[in-house]
């Protein structure tokens, strides 16, 4: 099968996946004990006022009718209007993409730049104190919750050393300096778990490759250790590392929810939390659909990358 054929089939395969996600999210929201109308109406509202709002939002219609109206609109690219903000969901998401994308990119960049060399170093010095420190950090990175790391970094760099702001986000259009400055702490916070994950995987993969004959051959030919490690070992160990990085990007979706809340970043994670707390159905549905789509696309991209990293892989 040609690469394009495979790509086409995979893209086609996303349609039933998205459909299942849509049905699942829609049902889950409707079946949970919640009522956006009661939340919107406020504490002083009477039962009658709540019922009026429910009717305006169309929540008194049969569930199946609500589903067909929503899915029909989604197919035409209309994700509806937020129950709360009086803005279209598309515009709400549009406003929130930049902060989340910035945070995700910074996080992955930091994670890869730190974790891959650490993992290679740990494999190279297998059994040494460096290896033990890296592995110890990995266990710690996995174990400590994101918000704890966040608070610790805030205390250290923002409150105590006064180097960085405590919270907030500055758009890139308002200045690159401020944009970077406000992304450092949240990205560092979020990257800790990915550094742990990627460093561990890199170490294991490189360690396995280092015992291969071709590595011994490279060394016997007199190549320096750096070339052996990064050109021969790392390249051959790349497939599982890329898989983990790909999974890591997908896992980021969960991480940004917490990190954006702690650091007050108005991104998609924050939007998701706010929408869930307020039972803003149209927004929740659209954001989950978007996240699912991104997840599917990342998996596809990782599969495509395999063929570049390992020419033996063919679809």
């Amino acid at each position: 099968m040609s690469m394009y054929g495979y790509l086409f089939r995979r893209l086609l395969g996303t349609i039933p996946v998205m459909l299942v996600v849509a049905v699942f999210i829609f049902l889950m929201l409707r079946l949970t004990p919640s009522d956006p109308a009661a939340i919107i109406a406020g504490d002083n509202a009477t039962t009658e006022q709540v019922a009026q709002i429910r009717s305006q939002l169309g929540l008194n219609r049969p569930m199946i009718e609500q589903f067909f109206i929503w899915s029909g609109n989604v197919l035409t690219g209309d994700f509806g209007e937020s129950f709360f903000f009086k803005k279209t969901v598309a515009s709400l998401i549009g406003e929130r993409i930049e902060p989340t994308l910035s945070l995700a990119l910074f996080t992955i960049l930091i994670a890869v730049l730190v974790a891959v060399p650490l993992g290679v170093l740990a494999a190279h010095r297998h059994g040494s104190w460096i290896d033990r420190i890296v592995m110890g950090f990995s266990v710690l990175g996995f174990s400590v919750p994101v918000f704890v790391v966040g608070y610790l970094l805030i205390y250290l760099f923002a409150v105590w050393l006064n180097w960085l702001p405590v919270q907030g986000y500055q758009r890139i259009s308002e200045g690159v300096g401020g944009w970077v400055q406000r992304l450092i702490l949240p990205s560092l916070t979020l990257s800790v778990i990915y550094i742990a994950l990627i460093a561990r995987m890199t170490r294991t993969s490189v360690l396995e490759v280092l015992s291969e004959d071709y590595i011994r051959t490279a060394r016997a030919k007199g190549q320096n250790e750096r070339t052996v490690l990064f050109r021969h070992a790392l390249r051959n160990a790349a497939v599982p590392i890329v898989t983990v990085i790909g999974l890591g990007i997908a896992l980021l979706i969960g991480g940004v929810v917490v990190t954006e809340s702690v650091f007050t970043i108005p991104g998609l994670g924050r939007l998701t939390v706010d929408a869930v707390l307020a039972r803003d159905y149209p927004t929740i549905q659209a954001v989950i659909l978007l996240f699912s789509f991104v997840y599917v696309m990342i998996n596809l991209a990782v599969d495509m990358l395999y063929t570049l990293l390992d020419p033996r892989i063919r679809y």
Partner: protein
């Protein structure tokens, strides 16, 4: 060595960014963290407090209450009552303008009153007395009554949700059940819609053409002078982060700092913690009168003996500086406050409660008590209630859920076994519960009453009597009768008052003592 060098370089880079960052914002921008994010913009359409606070930024009211609760003219220059107390004549102040530069007129005010009165419970009651509202000229209008009532002044000066904010006629003509889309007000600040980013910030700028009253500001009355050029409401949902940001000077003011974090702020020389004596709140226990066991008033009455206020207050607020056990139904230190009929009640007399339950024939039906877990000021209320009720002989099935689920569930009239409920606890802003008309849980109008649906002709008769009375002394006497009937019938139980302090940087001055947070008069000094 290289690692060390790289670490130093990274630190230098970070520090460099900090230095290269833009300078702090101009001193005339007040950066505020309110108690929640602003999502809805129509203060008549919803009763949410954050929308009410938004309303006070951009709208004005005809009448208002000062810091002592006295009703005074605000947008009106004067108002007069006819000798038979059946006609009110209001005359607007000269020079009042909408944010679009057009003058405020009688027609605008009439449309605003009518829209408010459709939504607000006090407004609805007031309108049952109103024969007509007519414009006399551009600056004068009358409210003619079928019979005298004290509700006109009380309603038009109502300090909390729904506040009768004045809007231009074209806006006020919007169907009350639909949200407005034009946010033109006549208040001291202008809403900047283009900069409104839900989940991030809400922006207001000073309205240069606002004409403040000449009297000094007091409560919600007097000169509303915007002393900063711009106000930004920043949406910081994490309580600890809001405190960090205040201490670092990234924000200037927090409307509702968490009580457990106040000691940190009190030790900070750059921060002031201010307790407005009017920023009171009242915890209440609300039984559902539709279902067993609380369909029996005698069983509900036993709760007055089961509970004590100190336990609730210490479990939630936990600091004696911010709590006040107060048995008065209509808020201590306010005109209608009274402890009449409260002797021996709210003292956790378990023995007496057990006797009453026995007399009432309580058969051990479990009480489904809804426990909200995510709002810090409410979280510990239900466990305390459960403990005290069990000591009194009740069986309690406490079910934990987030507040929004509770809000949805309390609207259900189904039996507890079918997704309904028996009781929950909540907190009211004092301004909402200072008289028998605006206090939602005293409304015993059956289906028209709030969740819990008490149905009591006697209580409704007393509320009507209060509405028809214009003499404050007689109003107070009726309010006491209401309180006695509430004790007997038990549509709610007050379980203590608490105050919510605000926190601000030391250079923020002029914050007013008011029942709701308002930001006019606030300035940032050098």
């Amino acid at each position: 060595m290289k690692m060390l060098r790289n670490a130093i370089l990274a630190a230098a880079f970070t520090a460099g960014l900090a230095v290269a960052a833009p300078p702090a914002m101009a001193q005339t921008t007040l950066r505020v963290v309110m108690h929640s994010d602003l999502k809805i913009l129509d203060p008549i359409w919803t009763t949410a407090y954050i929308v009410r606070n938004h309303g006070y930024m951009i709208y004005d009211t005809l009448l208002a209450q000062d810091e002592k609760g006295a009703i005074k003219p605000q947008m009106v220059e004067k108002y007069e009552t006819s000798a038979d107390k059946k006609t009110y004549t209001f005359t607007l102040r000269e020079g009042l303008l909408w944010h679009d530069g057009k003058p405020v007129s009688s027609e605008d005010c009439i449309a605003s009153i009518k829209r408010w009165a459709v939504k607000d419970s006090l407004g609805q009651k007031m309108m049952t007395y109103v024969a007509s509202i007519d414009a006399v000229d551009a600056k004068t209008f009358t409210i003619k009554l079928k019979e005298p009532t004290g509700l006109v002044e009380l309603g038009l000066s109502k300090p909390s949700s729904n506040v009768p904010f004045m809007m231009p006629k074209r806006v006020a003509d919007t169907d009350p059940n639909k949200q407005i889309e034009d946010f033109t007000g006549s208040g001291p600040f202008v809403f900047v819609k283009d900069e409104w980013k839900p989940g991030d910030k809400t922006v207001y700028v000073k309205f240069d053409k606002y004409k403040p009253r000449s009297e000094p500001a007091s409560g919600l009355t007097g000169g509303k002078i915007a002393k900063v050029d711009r106000v930004e409401w920043r949406a910081i949902s994490d309580a600890q982060q809001a405190i960090n940001a205040l201490q670092k000077g990234e924000i200037d003011f927090i409307e509702a700092p968490s009580h457990d974090l106040l000691p940190t702020l009190k030790n900070d020389p750059n921060v002031t913690v201010f307790v407005s004596p009017l920023a009171k709140n009242q915890y209440v226990f609300r039984p559902n009168t539709l279902h067993k066991p609380f369909d029996n008033p005698k069983i509900r009455h036993a709760l007055w003996y089961a509970f004590n206020q100190e336990d609730f207050l210490m479990a939630t607020i936990g600091d004696e500086n911010y709590i006040k056990p107060c048995k008065a139904l209509f808020i201590c230190d306010t005109p209608l406050a009274s402890t009449k009929g409260m002797d021996g009640l709210l003292t956790s007399n378990a023995k007496k409660a057990q006797e009453l339950l026995k007399e009432a024939g309580y058969d051990g039906t479990p009480v489904l008590l809804m426990h909200s877990t995510d709002l810090k000021v409410l979280t510990n209320l239900a466990p305390v209630a459960k403990s005290l009720m069990e000591k009194a002989g009740f069986k309690v099935d406490m079910q934990s859920m987030d507040w929004q689920t509770l809000v949805a569930r309390r609207a259900k009239k189904d039996p507890p076994s079918a997704g309904g409920w028996n009781a929950f606890l909540t907190s009211w802003v004092a301004a909402d519960v200072m008289n028998p008309i605006s206090t939602a849980y005293v409304n015993a109008g059956c289906d028209k009453a709030s969740f819990g649906w008490p149905c009591d002709e006697k209580l409704e008769k007393l509320r009507s009597d209060f509405a028809s009375e214009t003499d404050p002394a007689k109003q107070k006497a009726i309010a006491e009768e209401v309180q006695l009937r509430v004790i007997e019938y038990t549509p709610e139980i007050p379980v203590g008052e608490w105050v919510a302090p605000v926190a601000m940087r030391k250079n923020v001055k002029g914050y007013l003592t008011s029942p709701v947070p308002v930001l006019w008069n606030v300035e940032i000094t050098k």
